[in-house]
């Protein structure tokens, strides 16, 4: 006559049947809608958690992408040698005016070449800080004397025109290539191609425009502060043939100070060594370091290995992601606690309703599912709003702060899934509390 034992499995399937679940979801939405403000405020915790996770990840991803891009532009099979002015305290401080000699020399490069036959290309460069003029327009820039194959080796692209060639190198022609930053300042209206810029007393014809090199190219990992160069000047570059640079500017650079002058004798400011195979980079770098160590008493040079920088950057990124993950976890947990708090209040408030439902045939799991679904709706809605805002924030950061941001595909996915998970985790306890109520007591509750 009656079914005695309802089969638990069957009943469970019934509770989770899509149609039934959908009705429970609708019921949950309505219950939440009944306390709109409260639900909204509860949501906010989740929204902030999720959107900050996505936004932070986007900024982190953007910054590390930029850093890695800059390092990659240095060339992962390159080793960069740079002249470094010795530390302040090692200078002869008694003299008011002096000439200091330091840095790379052609002899160094020759030695490297002899010891390392597998070195494919060597690009020497001289860097002279100077004002560059176009009529009355002036920039505080760098004159960069180098060789014709420089852009190819350093992965720098031409924006317009061309780089100088071997012939111009040999004939010491007064031609130059300006970086886009320099071009914009010096020639704000018309094309710089074919025009002349003045450096010191010499005029150079602009034959090409080149994209600005990343600031890391110049400053390296640790030379930012000590070199004293501002980022603006490193980007405002004018490239001229190395031979021309040597001839026009000589070996000794004089800097005038108030009441004294300071002269530097530097043969080469920079040299790039390219190795044929990327896996030889570290080995080669070690050999170069030995060679340089033998040849220089003072540490007046630095060796930058982009590949190592790249690895370091990757490690930094991993650390960054770890920290982000921790912050994200904390904010999501805080959001989850907020949800749990409000659900506990809601359960107490709706004790009577729980009693009614239990009396009318609701099983404990029906009550659990009902409240769990409400929590998941709350946190899920928070997640959706958070994802929307979290995707919008990086866009505005890029727009207004000009910081590169990247919203990866998985960031919103992960953030959203975690918000749902938080809903379940923090919803279980209130739901259990609701289900554990004694129907008789619950019905009596005022």
């Amino acid at each position: 006559m009656f079914t005695t034992k309802p089969h638990a499995k069957h009943a469970l399937r019934k509770a989770f049947a899509p149609v039934r679940l959908w009705r429970t979801v609708r019921l949950g939405v309505r219950s939440l809608w009944l306390h709109r403000l409260r639900s909204l405020l509860t949501l906010l915790g989740m929204v902030f958690g999720v959107c900050s996770v996505i936004a932070m990840l986007a900024v982190g991803e953007g910054v590390s992408h930029e850093a890695q891009e800059q390092i990659r532009r240095l060339g992962s099979s390159n080793i960069i040698l740079r002249s470094l002015k010795p530390d302040e305290d090692k200078r002869p401080s008694t003299q008011r005016s002096y000439v200091i000699e330091y840095g790379l020399s052609y002899a160094d490069l020759k030695a490297i070449r002899e010891i390392l036959p597998n070195v494919r290309l060597v690009v020497p460069a001289r860097i002279i800080r100077s004002y560059v003029f176009n009529a009355t327009r002036r920039i505080d820039g760098e004159v960069f004397g180098t060789v014709p194959w420089y852009p190819e080796m350093r992965n720098v692209r031409m924006v317009a025109g061309r780089f100088f060639g071997d012939e111009e190198m040999e004939t010491k022609k007064n031609v130059c290539i300006v970086s886009t930053v320099a071009a914009e300042t010096l020639f704000p209206i018309d094309s710089p191609l074919g025009r002349n810029v003045r450096v010191g007393s010499d005029y150079y014809k602009v034959i090409g425009v080149i994209e600005p090199e990343s600031s890391r190219v110049n400053s390296g990992a640790n030379a930012d502060a000590s070199s004293g160069r501002s980022e603006g000047s490193t980007l405002s570059r004018v490239y001229i043939p190395l031979v021309a640079a040597k001839e026009r500017f000589g070996e000794v650079l004089v800097k005038r100070r108030s009441g004294s002058f300071e002269a530097e004798r530097v043969e080469l400011h920079e040299a790039t060594v390219q190795v044929a195979q990327q896996d030889q980079v570290e080995e080669t770098a070690a050999i170069i370091a030995d060679v340089m160590n033998d040849r220089h008493k003072k540490k007046d040079y630095e060796i930058v290995v982009p590949l190592e920088l790249l690895r370091a950057a990757e490690r930094t990124k991993q650390m960054f992601n770890l920290v982000l993950g921790a912050i994200a976890a904390i904010s999501l947990i805080v959001g989850g606690i907020g949800i749990m708090n409000i659900m506990l209040a809601s359960v107490t408030e709706r004790t009577r309703e729980i009693g009614i439902r239990r009396a009318l045939g609701a099983k404990r799991r029906d009550i659990i599912i009902q409240f769990l679904i409400e929590t998941v709706i709350l946190s899920g809605a928070g997640g959706v709003i958070g994802v929307a805002i979290g995707i919008a924030i990086p866009y505005f950061i890029t727009l207004f702060a000009h910081v590169m941001t990247i919203v990866t595909f998985w960031a919103p996915m992960v953030a959203f899934s975690i918000s749902g998970l938080v809903g379940i985790v923090f919803g279980i306890y209130p739901a259990m509390r609701a289900a554990d109520m004694d129907p008789v007591e619950a019905l009596r509750h005022e």
């Binding site: 009943a11 009705r23 239990r358 045939g361």
Partner: protein, 242 residues
Amino acid sequence: MQNRVETQREDGGMASESIARLEQVTKTYRMGPVLVEALSCVNLDFKAGEYVSIMGPSGCGKSTLLNLLGCLDRPTSGAYFLGTEDVSHLSDDDLSEIRGSRLGFIFQSYNLVQQLTVVENIEVPLYYQGVRADLSRQRASELAARVGLGDRLDHKPFELSGGQQQRVGIARALANDPLVILADEPTGNLDSRSGAEILHLFDELHGQGKTLIMVTHDDDVARRSQRVIRLRDGRVESDVYN
């Protein structure tokens, strides 16, 4: 008026069909260090189609009895046969199932879910029975019409008068076509006119052969039922057929 005390029947040779039967039911509560015996050795037999009032002073065990009959609680000892089955030791889930499928509840304070409409409130028991949405909606609408609320399907409880709310409660109690309808002072919160309407509905249900068990304080209300059971101190004081 005929007075007759029901005696316990163990021979099974009952004339009409027994639908709910309590055998030696005792219920004790622990209140702090003391044990309180709310019901002691109660034997009661309810037959199909009966209209029974349970009366007694407060604290006599009426509510406990109703909770036991409604499978909201389990007896401490004794057996409770609902239909042919002893339900006194079933699990929580099984009791839920029984409440949902075989029992109808009518409460003094109506106990409607405030955020649900009239029709949705009537649908609640059907929902837990897994009745398809369209069928349950249809049934709930029919029941609402039957209790005279056919034009108020989408009203919320707070938009209705007490009498109307109680009629929703009755419709809800009828939704799953229960074996027994249990009413806890159904007219207790109502003015006499609304109360009369509700009792009229009860008469109708009784006329249709429904089994009604009602707790009441009111002699006038009890007088309309077939049988009046009086409890005192957890025992059946009298069991009288009108």
